[in-house]
Subunit: 119 residues, 2 copies
């Protein structure tokens, strides 16, 4: 039982689109990830996914619109909904999602990260 300082954990890695696990509860993972550029369009069949902006900003593209997210804002992508995060500048994001969640959802691409580290 240790506390987690988000800024300290975020200082431990530099790469983009590569989530790290920083907490686990009730079968869900808390992850941190740095975004830069455009991710792949994907969806998750079984998992709703929460994005909370810790630093910076990004936009969540959906097939029928775009949500602009700033620091201190969160957005929940329901299961089945296609989405693509895009960050014009680096953004730091906390994710909250089931432990089963694959970052690229229904796809396997060069951005897929299969076994995430705990930091």
């Amino acid at each position: 039982m240790r506390k987690v300082n988000l800024a300290e954990k975020l200082s431990m890695f530099d790469d983009h689109w590569h989530p790290r696990i920083v907490g686990e509860l009730n079968g869900q993972h808390v992850k941190l990830v740095k975004l830069l550029g455009a991710f792949d369009w994907h969806h998750h069949d079984e998992e709703d996914e929460l994005f909370l902006v810790v630093k910076g900003r990004f936009r969540m593209e959906l097939r029928d619109g775009t949500i602009d997210l700033e620091e201190g804002e969160l957005f929940i992508v329901p299961r089945g909904v296609e989405h693509r995060p895009v960050a014009e500048e680096e953004a730091h994001v906390m994710l909250f999602e089931p432990a089963s969640t694959l970052n690229t959802g229904n796809l396997r691409t060069e951005k897929t990260r299969e076994r995430l580290e705990r930091i």
Copy 2:
């Protein structure tokens, strides 16, 4: 599908120890709560509970120690672990926990809030 601005939601209420629901995913709730003073000692039999400090600071008292939490820090209280949040000054906190979670856990006290509003 709407984004949630934490500061905006926090401006919608003033009372303490009265969580509001601001999101739901995978059977879990995202809640916001304002802390001031000492809560009741309690535990949750079936639920792990995450506290993330959005503003201010508080301490989580456990039977075998105390965790001081600052803005940008989170702490997960595992199910079964007795705890008591104490805030010397007002603190704003985001909670992630199963939708089944009662704020006072195994107890019903004057601080118990049974049916939480969604804001």
